[in-house]
Every structure is written in structure tokens, then in C-alpha cells.
């Protein structure tokens, strides 16, 4: 990680780029308790091009609480580098004062207390206000959606993504790329994409049969803004058929395809592109590596791993911008493009404090229209949170502890497995848990809670396999999720070891006995990528569990011992 001062010096010395970030500004103002909408939006328009980036909304139309991770370990060259810096280390790195709104927005400490002070974040109607304000200053700003938009809520599931399509159409993006969208099934994705009033991009979306670029998704789109010829190249999530059920979209193949990316960059440069922007769903570490192996990309707008960074990271002459998730942040990047090259930039990560930024009334109406048919079911209170429920973290989150407990008791299992996804808002202590809240952390098109038997040996294989998706030292082999959440079993993990040697000391918590490789264990889980998985949907399992308990207060989870972090 380069500190901000070093970063600016380096960028100027190495490439004549002049960089500035507006982050320090809102941080200071916030610390003085004078946070206003004008200050959050304050930006001295710069250069001749503006980019607006939002990503990984996961269908969160309304403001939510969202706690950032405490544990986010980087391996290999990324050990200790952003975004793998959390809490106090993160605040120190960016000069954030403890207890300030920026501490609340960007780190995990004292989350419940700060949340009650500063309120919810996000809401697409607040996002609309921010986008409109930027467009007022720069009418031809380009709005880019990094994907994971048509997934993640009750209404999104019930409408097969239509609620998000309608709402986003109101925001008028210029292009988007994809990940969870494909779990709607290729037929539905094709149907929506055919009617999109903006570009659906993915240079790595291929026809699986012929291994050729898919027709429905273009690799890039040209824009002419501020007298500058801009190429926006899309990059969908590379490992969709592996991390998600490939049988739902068998016609499509993905992959990182960095060679093809280089060909696309060369192609658009050959066609006169003066600015090359990559709208990416690679995940941050993959984007960092890609910026190093593909030459000619000016800006990477990075999504997938849900990182929010107050300043861009510079790799060579490429800046990488990470804009968070769940509607919590919008990034604005102003660029000075002259003589066919990027000469400088100004950047601001705008936190969407829902109590500070006024909702755009037109978007509020549009959102409420999508939600109205389902409002009653969603609002039903199922139970109460006795302590903070959150998901983010490499190994566990209290929301996932509740889900694993639900699987263990409702499905009468010895061991529970819950997917290490990074979406899902948080619930404060004392807050009601509604049906909508449960769906916000479980909604998906392959929700069946299976019950099966696995040998101890197979469980070890599963754990090692998932651990390598997260901790392989080469980012191109990482899938960008977190470790599978485990209930009923403890383990030790050494993140520095190779696959097959990371997981040891697997223990059945009920008895304290070591897991026997030869014994069969009853395992319940959900989100299996296998076709034909049977069982009730996970939201019913969790709802039934919470109803019985009334108040859920997961205790601190100490079942995972981490070594080598």
C-alpha cells in the first residue's frame, strides 16, 4: 500500500499523472459533526470526463446497515495490502478519526453504537440524488454499474430481477457488467438484456460450445464525451459456472481471459480510444494483477469483492477504484484526458448516508411501486436481534452463525455449511428481524437446504477446496468469496500453506472429538451448485428457527483458529 502522500508523489513522478482524492475532505468535515449533503457531494469538477461507478448493489433498494469486515486477509503479494487492511489499521492508513462518520462507513469497530448515531446507508433514491447532482455539474458523465444488481432481495426474487431493472432504468446507466444476474437463468438474462436501454458488456462472456465471444454481450462500447473518445470494456465475474450453478446458464463460458482483454484494449486503442475504462467484476486482487499484465487500461472500476477504498490504487499507469457494495457508496472519478492520454484524475468515494442525503422523490416513488405488491409479507416481524447480526469476514459472521444454527436444529444435522458470500446487510441489537431481513441474507435462485451424509475425509476436501479459492497466492486462482461458514465443527487454518495442508484440527464441537476421516457425518447446507438439490428453501428454515427462539443472540464464534494472517 502506498500512503496518500506517497501515492501522489509516485503518480506524478512516474507518469505525469496528477491525482487527488476528495476523501480527506469529507472525513474532516464529518469529524467536526457538520456533515451535510452539500459537503458529501462537494467536488471541484476537473478535467473533461466524469465517471460515476456503483457496483454490487445486491438489490438493496432501501437504506440498510452494513458492517465492513474485521477479518479480510491478503495472501502472497497482497498480504497486508489494501483492501486487506481493516479496523484501526485502515483508519490509520487513511487518517480517519475514531468515531467519525468515515470510521462508521469504512471500518467495523463500535459498529452498533456508531450506527445508531449516523443511521442507515444506501438507498437507490439517495444514490439517484448523488447521480443527478454529478450530472448537474457534468451533464455527460458516464454512469457505470459493475453488476450483482439483479440479485439479493425478496422483491428481486419474486420479480426475477424486474424490480431492479425498473429501478436502474430510472437511474439511466450507460453500461453494466454481470455476475449473480446469471443465476436468474440464461433465458431470463437474455430476455432482460435484449430490452436493456444501455450496453451489456463482458469481454469474457463466451459461447460455451464454440468458445467464441457471446453475441448478446459486447466486449466494449465507445462513448464520445467532453471531446474525448472513451472505450468502456466489460469484464463479468470470471468464475460464474464454478462459484454459481453453471447448469442455470450452460450456454455461457467465462474465465479471466487476460489475453483476450489485451486484444480488446489493443483493438479499441487502434480505433482511436483516448481513454480506456475497464468496468470489472473481477474482484480487487484480480484487477490489481490484471492491471499489471494487461497494458493500456487507464481506469479499472472494480467490483465483486465489496471493498470500499477512499483512494484509488495505482498499478503502473492504471488507477483502480473500488466502490463498496449494497448501495453504500458511489465513486466519482473526474479525468483530464488530453492528447490521447489520461493526464490526471480527481476521485471521491461518496458514502451514501441516508439521513444526510435527501431521497430523489421520483426514484422513491419508483422503488415503492416495485415493493408495494410485497410490502405486507416483507414487513412481517419474525423475531428480534439480541446482538449485532452481520455477515462480512473471511471465516464467520454472526448472521451466518444464526443460519448455521438454524440448519443444525431445523434439519437435525451434526454439521452445517453456509456459503461464504459477501452480500447481506446487518441488523442492530434490539432491531426487529423482518421477513425481508431474512431474505436479504438468503435470497437466491438455488436456496434448497439439503441434508446429506459426508465422510470426514470429504469434509476436509471441501474445506481445502474452498480455502484455496480464497487463499491461493495467485489472485487469478481466487474466486472472491469468503470461507464457507461452518456450524457444529471447529478447525484450524494456516492461510500460508498450499492446498491440502491449510486445514487441520477439524473437531466435532458437540463432542469435542476429532473428525474421523472414515466416519459419516450428517451435514446440512444450502446454495449447492449441483442440479436437483432437494430441501426446503433456506429462508423458510431460518424463519422457522428465529420464530422458535424469538430473540437471536449468537455468542462470539471461536471455532476457527487462524494462523499465518
Amino acid at each position: 500500500m502506498i500512503s496518500r502522500r506517497d501515492f501522489m508523489q509516485v503518480s506524478m513522478a512516474a507518469s505525469a499523472l496528477v491525482g487527488a482524492s476528495g476523501f480527506g475532505n469529507w472525513s474532516r468535515l464529518a469529524a467536526q459533526q457538520r456533515l451535510t449533503q452539500d459537503q458529501l457531494l462537494q467536488f471541484d469538477t476537473f478535467g473533461n470526463v466524469s465517471l460515476i461507478h456503483i457496483t454490487d448493489i445486491h438489490a438493496q433498494l432501501k437504506p440498510v446497515y452494513f458492517r465492513e469486515p474485521e477479518i479480510n486477509i491478503g495472501v502472497g503479494a497482497n498480504r497486508g495490502e489494501v483492501p486487506h487492511v481493516t479496523g484501526a489499521g485502515f483508519r490509520r492508513l487513511y487518517g480517519i478519526e475514531d468515531g467519525s462518520p468515515s470510521a462508521y462507513a469504512l471500518s467495523y469497530n463500535d459498529f452498533s453504537a456508531l450506527a445508531s448515531e449516523y443511521g442507515r446507508v444506501g438507498g437507490l433514491d439517495r444514490v439517484a440524488t448523488v447521480v443527478n447532482a454529478i450530472r448537474a455539474e457534468r451533464p455527460d458523465a458516464i454512469l457505470l454499474d459493475g453488476g450483482d444488481t439483479w440479485h439479493g432481495s425478496y422483491t428481486c426474487y419474486q420479480t426475477a430481477g424486474q424490480d431492479m431493472v425498473n429501478a436502474m432504468n430510472g437511474l439511466k446507466p450507460d453500461a453494466m457488467t454481470f455476475h449473480w444476474e446469471f443465476t436468474l437463468g440464461s433465458e431470463r438474462v437474455n430476455e432482460i438484456v435484449a430490452g436493456l436501454p444501455f450496453a451489456a458488456l463482458g469481454q469474457n462472456i463466451f459461447d460455451a460450445e464454440w468458445d467464441e465471444p457471446a453475441e448478446a454481450f459486447k466486449p466494449y462500447k465507445f462513448f464520445e464525451r467532453g471531446g474525448v473518445k472513451i472505450a468502456v470494456i466489460g469484464q463479468a465475474f470470471p468464475y460464474m459456472p464454478i462459484a454459481n450453478p453453471g447448469w442455470m446458464f450452460p450456454e455461457y463460458s467465462f474465465g479471466i481471459r487476460d489475453q483476450h482483454m489485451q486484444e480488446m484494449v489493443d483493438e479499441v486503442r487502434g480505433q482511436g480510444a483516448e481513454l480506456v475504462v475497464l468496468l470489472s467484476h473481477n474482484g480487487f486482487d484480480v484487477d490489481k494483477k490484471m492491471a499489471g499484465v494487461v497494458t493500456g487500461i487507464d481506469v479499472i472500476l472494480s467490483g465483486h469483492t465489496h471493498d470500499a477504498l477512499p483512494e484509488p490504487v495505482l498499478v503502473g499507469e492504471t488507477i483502480i477504484v473500488a466502490s463498496g457494495s449494497n448501495g453504500k457508496f458511489v465513486s466519482r472519478v473526474d479525468l483530464d484526458v488530453r492528447d490521447g492520454r489520461m493526464m490526471g484524475f480527481r476521485h471521491k468515494l461518496i458514502p451514501i448516508f441516508s439521513d444526510v442525503i435527501a431521497p430523489d422523490p421520483e426514484m422513491t416513488r419508483l422503488i415503492d411501486e416495485q415493493r408495494a405488491p410485497y410490502a405486507a409479507e416483507m414487513a412481517e416481524v419474525i423475531g428480534t436481534a439480541g446482538s449485532l447480526l452481520y455477515r462480512r469476514g473471511n471465516f464467520n459472521g454472526s448472521w451466518d452463525d444464526v443460519i448455521c444454527d438454524a440448519l443444525l436444529s431445523e434439519r437435525e444435522a451434526e454439521i452445517a455449511l453456509s456459503p461464504g458470500v459477501r452480500w447481506g446487510p446487518s441488523i442492530l441489537p434490539g432491531q426487529d428481524i423482518t421477513r425481508e431481513d431474512i431474505w436479504n441474507v438468503t435470497s437466491m435462485t438455488y436456496p434448497n437446504a439439503y441434508r446429506t451424509e459426508m465422510t470426514g475425509e470429504f469434509l476436509k476436501v471441501v474445506m481445502e477446496d474452498v480455502a484455496d479459492n480464497l487463499f491461493n497466492p495467485d489472485p487469478f486462482y481466487q474466486q472472491g468469496g469468503d470461507m464457507v461458514r461452518v456450524g457444529g465443527m471447529g478447525y484450524r487454518i494456516d492461510v500460508t500453506k498450499p492446498q491440502g495442508q491449510r486445514i487441520t484440527d477439524m473437531t466435532l464441537l458437540a463432542t469435542g472429538e476429532a473428525i474421523d476421516p472414515a466416519r459419516n457425518y450428517v451435514v446440512a447446507g444450502w446454495a449447492s451448485v449441483n442440479e436437483g438439490t432437494e430441501g426446503p428453501p433456506i429462508w423458510d428454515v431460518v424463519e422457522s428457527h428465529i420464530r422458535k427462539l424469538g430473540t437471536v443472540s449468537p455468542t462470539e464464534n471461536t471455532s476457527v483458529t487462524v494462523v499465518g494472517a
Binding site: N244, G255, G283, T305, P419, D465, D474, G481, V484
Partner: protein, 139 residues
Amino acid sequence: MDFTRRETLALGAGAALLSFLPFRANAAAVDDLIAEFTGGAEMADAGVELNAPEIAENGNTVPIEVSAPGASAILLLAAGNPTPPVAKFGFGPLAGSQTASTRIRLAGTQEVIAIAQLGDGTFARTSKTVKVTIGGCGG
């Protein structure tokens, strides 16, 4: 076309000649196969390119592309398969390009190796780890 493996579909570019290596009951060590192809000659790092996915979407049919400008032959090996030899692509002097793509089956995570005999008779080697995974969870 009748190839040894049902899953293998090979497409040779231009005037490329394809010859498939017979499967051996007991696969010889990868080093022996390489030595047999190169005659023990030194192998350069540059001169042959191998395009393969980092993680296979389906281990039963993994798209692989090899290319080596000016080469007369490219040997493709899957080091971790029970029978490592995959294919040897031969290119005649009139070949428009020395590129071939095929789909191969991988028994598990392993190194895929391509060795080319270049126009001047020297050899070049490259390899890539292709991971075969049981699937995980996306962010």
C-alpha cells in the same frame, strides 16, 4: 474422426497435421516423454504460448490453445493425468499459422505443458496450472 478420447475435439489451424499419441498402459514419467520429444535438448522459456483457463469450468472438457510461430511440432502434456500425453501437433512447411486448439480432460488440478520444436530446430517450453475445483461460493 475417431480419437482415443471421446471428450477430445481437436481443431488444427491451416494446414496443420494432427497426430495423436497412443495411450500407454503405464504412463511413462513426464520427464521421459519430454526427453523423447526433445532428445534431451535445452528448452527456452520464450517461443511457445499456451492459453488455458486458470480454473476449469468443467474438468471433462477444458479448452486449450497452443501456438508457436514457425514451429514444426508442439507436444501437449497433462502432467497429472493417468496418461499424460494429450496430443502432438505437427505443422507442415505450408501451414498458415502454427496454432492449434483442442479440449482436453483433466483428472484434477495439474500442470499442462506445451513444448514446441521451433523452425530452427530448438525447443521451447511453457506450462500453466489448471485448477479443477468442486465449486465454491461467489461474492
